[in-house]
Every structure is written in C-alpha cells, then in structure tokens.
C-alpha cells in the first residue's frame, strides 16, 4: 500500500480579485522508501500542494476545497488540527527553502531540536539532549555539543539547513517533505545536503517528496516525477522514462531549454515562448496551449484529461500520441 495517496487535491485562495485555484485536482502517490519529485516553475502550485498535505495553508485565505490526502489510510484533509500537530514532526517532517524562516532566531539550536523530542517522543531533558547531539553529528555538523548552545545566526546557510533537516528527522518520520531545500545554497553545499538526505533515507527507510524547479536535482535524486503547470499535473512518470521519453510539450520544452555543461558554448538555447497564464485568467482549455508549438483548436476548448502513455506514465495532452 502507498504511504501517501494524494487524490484529486484542490486548494483555493481568497484574493482581492476573487477566488483563485492554486492546486486543481492533483493526484499522485508515494510508496515507502521512495523519492517523489515535484517540478515546475514559480506559481505552478508545487509548494501549495506541500502546504496542503501538511495542512499548513495560510489562514484564513487558503483552504482545501476537494480531494483526499491519505497517509497510512487516514485522510489528513479531514483530520482535526490537534491530530495534525502530532502527525507533523512525528510522522511527517518538513524542510523549507529558507532555513532562517524555519528556525526561531531567539532560541538556541539545542532548544529547537529537543522541543520535538520532548513533545512527540516523551523523552526526559537529559535523554533529549543526548539524542539531539547525536542527530546533529549525524547530519554532519562539527562539534555538535558546542552548536547546541548557539543561535541560528551564528551558523552558515549550509549549517542552518543541516539543523533544519536534523529537526525534521529528529522523530524519524516516515515521510520527509522538502520544499526547495537547496535552492538558497551554493552548489558544493547543495551536493552535501542532497547526499545527506539520500544517506539518511537509506538508513531510516523513509519516503521523500522533493519539490524543486531544478531538473538536474530531479534527475539525480528522484525515483518518479510529477511535472506541474499552472496548478495542474502536466505529466507524471518514473524518472528515467520522463527524461528519456517526455510526452508533454511543456516537459520537452523545459528539458530542451536548460543550458548543460556539454552543449556548444554560445549556441542558441531552445525557448518556451511567452509566459505562464495568471491563475486569475486561466484559459478554458489546456493551460499550456498559448505557449505550445503544437497547439490545435481542440487544445483550447477543453482541459485534456490525464491519459496513460505507458505503465505509470501519465500525460495531460490531447495530442501526445501524434507528437
């Protein structure tokens, strides 16, 4: 059975100009021990999907208006908030892009780490401190016992993100949701953090949802991928299948437009013309139609349903078979 099953999740926000649907009937599943990547550009709904799963939508503007999030068979959408607080941290850990926003600047690293262990695991103060020092050492922080008494501002960006990961993993969650965990970091630090997540995953057997805009990170870390565009799933597939045989023109365009180390210097890059449509004025048909080089009249009339290209490979494109 899947550890997490997201089924037709729909999330809306109240804005000054009316209701906006940021996530529209998104479905995917995560098996135990598996890494799922969610990739897409700003505003595609990938972060809102994560916040919806965790029930951390900004209040009162955001709300889940449809669908289910089944975690070990329990529907998190219908779970009381008090229950969710136990699940967060205990069963599902989270890591966000900017570690400084996840850490409390006025509390020591030690206090922030032991808090969860005392709260969720019921450890005594001494045991919690010992456990916290062990975890800090595990995520590669030198002199962890000294770091315990320091404040977030005393650490570098890479070290802070390690602390956030340590907090997220302190209670050995079954699922880690990491939203752009390395975007604010330098490449050599990014490599350290991705390596660390991989190692810990192997050790703890946890599942990971990795949200990123970086196709390189997806290729190097994920088992399967969901490509999102303007709030909907454009394509989902096992990682090798997605890169070898992308079926959606958006996925193809995205892969073609990345400058790679082995492309010819100063050659023209492939582009996707135009811009993502605003969520307030979405077209009635395929959301990618206005930028798609293959769009036909059928594409602008109705939203194409997700169709199976082959096993486990789904695409939302009316013309995928002809392309």
């Amino acid at each position: 059975m899947a550890l997490l099953e997201v089924d037709a999740l729909t999330t809306e926000f109240d804005t000054d100009e009316g209701v906006v649907r940021a996530v529209d009937a998104v479905s995917f599943s995560v098996e135990p021990g598996e890494t799922l990547g969610i990739v897409g550009e700003s505003g595609c709904g990938k972060s809102v999907t994560a916040l919806s799963i965790m029930r951390l939508l900004p209040q009162p503007m955001g709300r889940i208006t449809g669908g289910h999030v089944l975690f070990r068979g329990r529907d998190l959408v219908r779970e009381p908030i008090a229950q969710m607080e136990t699940i967060r941290g205990n069963d599902i850990g989270m890591v966000f892009q900017e570690p400084m926003t996840a850490l409390n600047p006025v509390h020591t690293i030690g206090r922030q780490l032991t808090e969860g262990l005392v709260l969720h695991k019921g450890l005594g103060p001494r045991e919690a401190t010992q456990e916290a020092v062990d975890i800090l050492a595990r995520v590669g922080i030198p002199a962890p016992d000294i770091r315990m008494g320091e404040y977030p501002h005393q650490l570098s960006g890479g070290m802070r993100q390690r602390v956030v990961i340590a907090i997220a993993l302190a209670c050995r969650p079954a699922l880690l949701i990491a939203d752009e965990p390395t975007t604010a970091l330098d490449v050599t630090i990014q490599a350290q953090i991705l390596e660390l997540i991989k190692e810990l995953q192997g050790e703890l057997g946890m599942s990971v949802i990795l949200i990123t805009h970086d196709m390189g990170v997806i290729a190097q870390t994920c088992d399967k991928v969901v490509v999102m565009y303007a709030g909907k799933v454009a394509e989902k597939a096992p990682v090798i299948d997605l890169f070898d045989r992308p079926a959606h023109p958006y996925t193809r365009g995205l892969l073609a437009s990345i400058p790679r180390l082995d492309t010819i210097p100063k050659s023209r890059l492939a582009v996707i013309e135009g811009m993502v449509p605003g969520l307030r004025d979405l077209p009635p048909g395929c959301r990618f139609a206005n930028r798609c080089p293959h769009a036909a009249s059928a594409c602008t009339e109705a939203v194409p349903p997700l169709q199976a290209v082959r096993e486990n490979h789904m695409v939302s494109c009316a013309r995928w078979a002809e392309l």
């Binding site: 330098d186 050599t188 390596e195 890169f243 437009s257 990345i258 400058p259 790679r260 050659s267």
Partner: protein, 324 residues
C-alpha cells in the same frame, strides 16, 4: 587576443571591518584580493564562484561603483581607477551593469519610459521627442511592446523586468556590460529567453560582457572564457570548453562534479566537498582552498600558490596542478 577592451591588474578591494566599542578598524574583509583579467571587444568572460567569493564586488569595482583599494583598471588603454566625478561621466556610457533582481534596481515610482530615458537625461542627450523615439527603439530591441513605456515596473513579470534592465543597460551604446547574476532569479523557461537575448545583443552591437554567476552550466554556455573565483582570487581560467573538459584546479573539479546533471543515466563521480567557504576576513594560511581540498599537502598549508600557466591560455593557482 588583440587589443584588450578592459584590463584589470592586481585589483584589490578591502572593506574595513569595524569592531568593538570604539568601532576601530582592526581587520579587513579582503573581498577582492589581487585579481587580474582582460576582456577583448565582443568577448564574454564568465566569472564563477560561490557566495562571498568576491565576484559581485569585482564587478562593481570595474563598473566603478566602488573605489578599489589598490590595482588598476584600464579601459581602452586609459587608466580609470582613480577617476571620479565629472571625468568619470563619459566613461559611464561605456560600462553598464545588469543586476540580478530588476525589481530592486528599477525605480518603482517611475514609468518604464522614464527609467529608459534617464540615461539620456543624465548624459544630456537629445530632446524629449528624440528620447521617446529612442525608448521605443530600445523596447523593440529587447522584445517588449511599445505601450510598456507608460507602465510601471510592478506590472511586469520577472523576465520582462529583466528585459527592461537590459534595455536600460544598452541605452547609451556601451562597449562593456557587467551582468551580475542576470538570470538567477528567473524560471528555467524564461532564463533561456534572456540568455538568447543577451547573446543576440552581443552579436548585433559587438558588446563585451563580464558575466557573473554561480551557475557554471549557464556561464559556460554564454562565455568565451571562464574565470573561477575563490575567496577573493581567481584560481583558474581557460576557455569555456577547456574549463569543463580539462579543469585542473581541485576546486573547479569539485564545482563541476557538484552540478546536478539533468540526466538520470548520469552517475556522478561526486567529489563532495567538505565544509564551508572560509571567511574572507580571516582566510586560511597558504592556499585558501587547502582546508577543503581532497589532495592538499604540507606545502599547500604553508605557501600560497601563484596563478601560473598550465597550458596555452590556461592558468591555474594550485601547487599540484599538472602542466602541459
């Protein structure tokens, strides 16, 4: 290379660090610490490094937004290092900058038309009608509709705002444009549009670029030559093919191996670097890279390596790098 457009020699930018009750200067942040480079006409030099390596400070020194502590900057043979005020003004026409976040570098309270006309006003060029004609031409060159002139920066997307930033930078027909992380804040599909635009403009106007970025794949794509910076110094430089195929400095090698390749079949031979970049206020003795270097020896801890020729047009600052 023929006559260099820009020649930088042993440039240093040391910022005083004020500390203690009396705010005395006891230490210096050696953000740029002895950098030499040349850029030819129509050439792109890519400058790569991690945060805090001094690449942006170097760009700002060359654009003369900072007064460097030591060294010389020559533009078309003329020493512009000590120039200030009135004598610098004609130079400013020739050297322009593009910044990472156009929202921060564009005045939010001015229309795009005013923003683009401002360089002409400052340089006292043309009358109102001429300026408005030039603004329309500029918008057209960067691929924005003419009606954009009456709008405000916030009405545009990130990619369009960067087009406005580019239009402003090329308004005075500069010879050199310093691009400081021009696409880092943009989405992938927009990034390639902007990179193509920059390469088109270069061909059309024979522009030279100093292209500063942390993303080696992007830099390698747009540059003729690439220089890698670490803690205020250039540690390796070569043409962009060579830097990727034949990197000799261990830092360049680990930088390349750290880039996640967008191909799931690629099995990285990862040299994961340990530790963080040290502080430029208190850099390590000897080679600045030795605490993180996988092959460091005793001499690396004692003596700082000079930037030396490893091969034709290929320089590296490492005691252990092979030559030939």
């Amino acid at each position: 290379m023929t006559e260099a457009l820009l020649e930088v020699d042993d440039l240093k930018m040391h910022f005083p660090v004020r500390e203690g009750l009396l705010l005395r200067t006891r230490k210096f942040n050696r953000a740029v610490d002895g950098v030499s480079l040349q850029i030819g006409p129509g050439e792109t030099l890519g400058l790569v490094g991690e945060s805090g390596c001094g690449k942006s400070t170097l760009g700002r020194c060359i654009a003369r937004l900072y007064q460097p502590t030591a060294g010389t900057i020559r533009f078309q043979g003329q020493d512009i290092t000590g120039m200030g005020g009135r004598s610098l003004r004609p130079m400013r026409q020739n050297i322009q900058m593009i910044f990472q976040d156009p929202m921060e570098s564009l005045n939010a309270r001015h229309t795009v038309g005013d923003i683009l006309a401002e360089p002409f006003v400052v340089q006292r060029m043309g009358d109102r009608a001429w300026r408005s004609k030039r603004v329309n031409e500029l918008l057209n060159i960067v691929g924005l509709p003419a009606r954009s002139a009456s709008r405000y920066p916030f009405e545009f997307s990130g990619g369009q705002r960067q087009r406005i930033g580019i239009a402003r930078a090329i308004a005075l027909n500069p010879k050199l444009v310093i691009c400081d992380e021009p696409v880092s804040a943009l989405d992938v599909s927009i990034q390639s549009q902007i990179l193509n635009l920059l390469m088109d403009l270069q061909r059309e106007f024979n522009l030279s670029y100093l292209f500063i970025a942390h993303d080696l794949a992007v830099v390698k794509h747009v540059s003729d030559r690439v220089a890698i910076m670490y803690l205020g110094k250039i540690i390796e430089t070569a043409d962009s093919e060579t830097i990727y195929r034949d990197a000799r400095h261990p830092y360049t090698q680990s930088l390349i191996s750290a880039i996640p390749v967008p191909d799931p079949h690629h099995q990285p031979s990862r040299q994961v670097l340990q530790g963080d970049v040290p502080s430029p206020i208190n850099p390590p003795e000897g080679c600045h890279f030795h605490p993180r270097c996988p092959i460091a020896e005793a001499r690396c801890r004692q003596r700082e390596p000079e930037l030396r020729e490893l091969n034709r047009d290929h320089l590296g600052a490492c005691h252990l790098a092979v030559t030939g």
